[in-house]
Symmetry: C2
Subunit: 328 residues, 2 copies
Amino acid sequence: MPDSVNKDDDGNEGLVFAVDLGGTHLRSSTVSKDGKIHHRRKQQTPRAAKAEEIVHAITRAAREFEELGKVDGRCIRAVSVAVPGTVNVDEGVIVKAPNLPSLEKYPLCAELTSQLNLPCVLENDANAAAIGEVWRGAARQHKTIVCLTLGTGVGGGIILDGKLWRGVEGAAAEIGHMCVDPFGGVACTCGSQGCLEVYASATAIVRMARNGRADHPDSILNNCNELTAERVHKGGAAGDELALEVFQRMGIYLGIGIANLINLLDPEMIVIGGGVANAWSLFETHMRQQVVERAFSRLAAHINIARAECGDDAGLLGAARLAFDRMS
Amino acid sequence: MPDSVNKDDDGNEGLVFAVDLGGTHLRSSTVSKDGKIHHRRKQQTPRAAKAEEIVHAITRAAREFEELGKVDGRCIRAVSVAVPGTVNVDEGVIVKAPNLPSLEKYPLCAELTSQLNLPCVLENDANAAAIGEVWRGAARQHKTIVCLTLGTGVGGGIILDGKLWRGVEGAAAEIGHMCVDPFGGVACTCGSQGCLEVYASATAIVRMARNGRADHPDSILNNCNELTAERVHKGGAAGDELALEVFQRMGIYLGIGIANLINLLDPEMIVIGGGVANAWSLFETHMRQQVVERAFSRLAAHINIARAECGDDAGLLGAARLAFDRMS
């Protein structure tokens, strides 16, 4: 078999070992320059872990992928890690990560480079997801987008004219902490109240459903032992009134937030990903209604608001792409 | 007298003829490359004017300045116009300008170039003000700022890493139309409700004062024939309770908006200009309180929030600077 079958379109055989390090799961993969994921792995993030244990889990996965790469005739050229927190990209250090406190201030890139003998890139996970969606997802061929990731929290990534906007302290695009109801009385973990996150995250969906149960004694959500955003979604899909109300409320606040983003940044596209986006059909109308009512009509008429397409791979792909860009 | 006394620091003798074309006033000046304003003029914008009348007013001013420039030994090298509307910068055309409807879609730059035989630059006035504040005002030596202009409306300019962010349709930085109270019931001229503009503009100050008079029969604002934002300011400075309440409310909403800008863009600095900023001491505490409560604490600790320093010249200076940049 000729070597060429294993080569990328551009003849580059290098791979990036990309890691999406969440508070719950550590997902890793090897990605080639054409955006293909070659091998992947999903494991639990070591619980209450010291930084060293997390590094060990990453390096062990890297070495397994290295062996697999040898079979394919491809080398890992860099490691790239997406993390749920604020990152000092230049120094490769996590500044703030509430879900991974042991990694705060820890020289993660330096340690991975030392142990794996590979250059290392570190990025915020929602930023990486935005890059992933531009590279291989819903925003292909777009240069100016805002990407929202509706998960446990609400993350954001802002790409302006092809470049990630990170802010001067590396903390930009905290779209989940844009205030959309300053006096509504719902407190946010950030210390403020009325943030988008308290209406559009999975956590918010569960809270709103739980709080609504007393008013909806017939709701099928009263029969759940453990209420999850997915169950509320299923309830809504089955026509449950409480579930539909929850996603209506969520859609309204999401639309208010998106209208703000449109009036502030005038992007080409808004991309919405994360687990909660699976309930798209339940909140889409309410979200779009707010955008029509609140964004400048000329912009509302042009804006493309669409679901993300990379699913759980957005962060991995974005991390990989950032490493390829750094190497080129 | 040697020629050199009239030369700029860099020896360049060229001037930009800068125009700040408002719905009420047409302000114009000549500006040299060191940011010095040489001559200035303020006149009424021709009322209910056809585009041609506005062009005529501009070209007449330009020719007067040309004569004055000859005395100083300086030539006008370009014309640059700041306008209250959305601009297609590349084509030099105003896309949308509610206060200057006759200029919508009119080829203003082409016409000025044809009549004055000078290259022409067109920019949104709030964008120009942001550039002016970075060049010669409060944001000197800063590269990433958001500038709010609190006038009849609320304008905004976003400068990221030294570059104006205009958005893909030229309509970015509409900070006055960020929603800060979606269900508060105050309608905005843009069609939405609860926009920052309905709480932080001069128009809003007057509306809030007027609406509050019944509850404050002793307020000195009850004795005004014509209520203006300036009178409310003076009332507050004299300790009038209604006026103080109005600026408290304004400061709270302004702070909510600024906290959003900080969490979204993570800038170095927020600059606040326009006539309403003269009441700074009446709203500052309330504004800062919201920023502390709502912005990420790490960012709130660093952010520099300050009054603009260029006053009414911000737009003229910014327009001039954009023309110098274009010529270099």
